[in-house]
């Protein structure tokens, strides 16, 4: 077990001007569960593969503990990896799959067998030790891939979307099992996913990447409550945060048919940057249905009822893009408004996020 440090690690793919991973700086603590998340092509898998040694580090360095592993071969980094396809050795049975790395490390047979048995016990794989991967279900294969990592007792686990080949139900249960197992073993883990729910539920900290650049690395709660920029704000949370650009006049933002006072702090920040427009973001759960005299007017375009919740997709009065809903809000599912009805909405005070329309960076605190 060890800390992991990316020091301005950069990776250029041959023939591409733009780096796939651009100056990545993250320090991962010993025993921490760090999730790398982002849209496809954001460089999250490349970052993980750089740590595994499967991609070169073109600039910067990567450390595991106090060892510089930047140019070390994958097999000598003492990390174990779980692949998206599981990458089990098809002609070896489950026990041989798990023991392969130990055998390569020339571990005595006795110890090898002990560790495989132990891992099989933890993962409920004991009845399948003699089976070949092709005769296992998807969930069992996933557990074998986990077992192959566990038996090595490595410095770190690297997991590359290990749940994306499972069906939705199994994914949820396996998600909590992996998180619990990681806590129990206390092995530093770097986990890549494109699914922000997975990221939020599993990680001690979550690093959001976009276009090869680290956007923010923080606890799930902090990412949700204080996104550092408009990209993180829009990426974390489901349904996504409402982020719209509004004009600001005399300390008031014009939202639909109503002027909303902005905080002094935001006014100062806007003045500093010389901006007369602001990107305002508010989560669906921060918008309330209110009486006709309060809030701004919007007409309902779509009602999505999910049982526990219902979501209203509305267009704000006074804006002209008719087809595209301007605002999504969570409401009490007991008495949802009908499509076409006019409603009045208000953003809960202090629950709005303001970003610069130029840089996308957060303006308010």
């Amino acid at each position: 077990m060890a800390t992991i440090t990316y020091e301005a690690a950069t990776r250029f793919y041959p023939g591409s001007e733009r780096p796939a991973v651009d100056g990545l700086e993250i320090s991962i603590e010993d025993g921490e569960f760090l999730v790398l998340v982002g849209p496809s092509g954001c460089g999250k898998s490349t970052s993980l593969r750089m740590l595994a040694g499967l991609e070169d580090v073109d600039e910067g360095a990567i450390r595991i503990g106090d060892r510089d592993v930047t140019t070390l071969a994958p097999g000598r980094r003492d990390v174990a990896m779980v692949f998206q396809s599981y990458a089990l050795y098809p002609h070896m049975n489950v026990a041989e799959n798990m023991a392969f790395a130990l055998e390569m490390a020339k571990m005595p047979k006795q110890e090898r067998r002990r560790r495989v048995r132990e891992a099989a016990r933890i993962l409920d794989l004991e009845p399948f030790l003699d089976r070949k991967p092709k005769s296992l279900s998807g969930g069992q294969r996933q557990r074998v891939a986990m077992g192959r990592a566990i038996v090595r007792e490595p410095q770190a686990f690297l997991m590359d979307e290990p749940l994306s080949n499972l069906d939705a139900k199994l994914r949820v249960s396996t998600r909590s099992q992996i998180a619990a197992l990681q806590k129990r073993l206390g092995v530093t883990t770097v986990y890549v996913t494109h699914d922000q729910v997975e990221a939020m539920t599993m990680g001690d900290r979550v690093a959001v990447l976009n276009e090869g650049v680290l956007q923010q690395c923080d606890s799930p709660r902090a990412l949700y409550q204080r996104p550092a920029n408009a990209f993180v704000a829009g990426f974390i949370g489901s349904p996504a945060m409402n982020i719209r650009e509004f004009a600001v006049h005399d300390g008031h933002a014009r939202i639909g048919d109503r002027d909303v006072e902005v905080s002094d702090e935001l006014r100062a920040a806007l003045a500093d940057e010389g901006l007369d427009r602001v990107l305002l973001g508010f989560r669906p759960e921060s918008v309330d249905l209110v009486g006709p005299s309060e809030g701004f007017t919007a007409s309902v375009q779509l009602v999505e009822e999910l049982g526990a919740d219902a979501y209203l997709y509305c267009s704000i009065a006074g804006t002209d893009h008719a087809g595209d809903p301007d605002i999504v809000t969570r409401i009490d599912p007991a008495r949802p408004p009908r499509v076409g009805e006019t409603v009045h909405l208000r953003v809960r005070a202090g629950h709005e996020h303001a970003f610069s329309p130029v840089t996308g960076e957060r303006l308010s605190s």
Binding site: G53, P74, M81, A87, H91, F100, A101, M104, A105
Partner: protein, 313 residues
């Protein structure tokens, strides 16, 4: 056998009403009648000669004698199996086939592994390596006989003379080795292609997993890649064996089965019995034995091919 789906004749029928798609027996027959001539032709061309061969193999017949054809039960088979030359031919065929297949598989695997790596001009190299397989067998045999093996102006002796060895009269001194050398040259590309297909069907993530697991290149090849290639290699061995057992051109054009009986293989033995000794009955019996042996190999080959589709689906 499942029936082919009925094609809806109307163009662009987006919401065509569902129609019964199970054709009646008459419809099925109508649909297959056009295939009948091809089927009849196939039977005439393949099964009738085989039946003719089986018929002759039970009769005594020599084209040089005008005797009546006489049914002799298994006498031809007994004669053939008791014939020392036949047994030599079987042995030679086994030696020729086994050594050619072994050598061409070994070389084919090595070349395929090299070709699996990316390098400048790979497609040119691949094309050049495949060429021997595209050369007509008779042309290849003549080329080797004259350009390579000739004791006076052959290239092999010229190469050996550079290191001060030789000259060797390849065809007289090392007849079987020469044939095997030429056949290996011809069959290596075939094995290489099959193994290359196997290599390229291997999941790159499995190889990466082995890397992360600390396996070095040789261990990865031996423990991960070679087991994956096993079925492809088996397929190469079996298909190669079926074809190499039938080798005729090289023997006929280079050694005529000689010197003595040194390179006499089964096809050439049968040819001699039929067209030199005109022993139709005996050569038919030998032919039936060879076909039976080949069918046994072919059954194994088919089983391997079927397994290939089942294994890593």
């Amino acid at each position: 056998m499942s029936a082919p789906p009925v094609v809806d004749g109307r163009a662009g029928g987006a919401a065509a009403p569902a129609r019964s798609t199970t054709p009646t027996a008459v419809e099925r027959l109508k649909r297959r009648i056009p295939l009948l001539p091809a089927l009849v032709l196939t039977i005439v061309l393949t099964q009738v000669p085989l039946l003719g061969t089986v018929y002759y193999s039970f009769h005594s017949r020599n084209l040089l004698r005008g005797d009546a054809i006489e049914f002799v039960w298994f006498a031809n088979y007994a004669d053939i199996l008791g014939d020392e030359h036949f047994r030599t031919a079987v042995l030679n065929t086994v030696v020729l086939t086994a050594s050619t297949v072994t050598l061409s598989i070994a070389l084919g695997v090595a070349l395929a592994v090299l070709l699996d790596k990316a390098f400048l001009g790979r497609s040119v190299v691949r094309t050049l390596l495949i060429t021997p397989f595209l050369v007509m067998p008779a042309v290849a045999a003549l080329l080797w006989k004259h350009a390579m093996f000739d004791p006076v102006y052959g290239l092999l002796n010229w190469f050996l003379s550079l290191v001060g060895v030789g000259p060797i009269d390849w065809i007289s001194e090392l007849p079987m080795f020469s044939i095997v050398l030429m056949m290996t040259w011809q069959w290596t590309p075939f094995m290489m292609l099959i193994v290359l297909a196997g290599l390229q069907s291997q999941s790159p993530e499995v190889l990466e997993a082995a890397k992360v697991d600390g396996a070095r290149a040789f261990a990865t090849f031996r423990r991960i890649t070679l087991p994956h290639l096993r079925r492809f290699i088996e397929l190469g061995i079996l298909l190669g064996s079926i074809f190499i057992v039938q080798t005729f051109d090289a023997i006929f054009l280079i050694t005529q089965g000689g010197p003595g009986q040194a390179t006499m293989n089964l096809p050439y033995f049968i040819y001699q019995r039929t067209f030199r000794a005109f022993e139709v009955g005996e050569s038919a019996a030998a032919g039936v034995i060879v076909v039976a042996g080949t069918i046994v190999i072919a059954i194994f080959a088919l089983r391997v091919i079927l397994n290939l589709f089942r294994e890593e689906g």
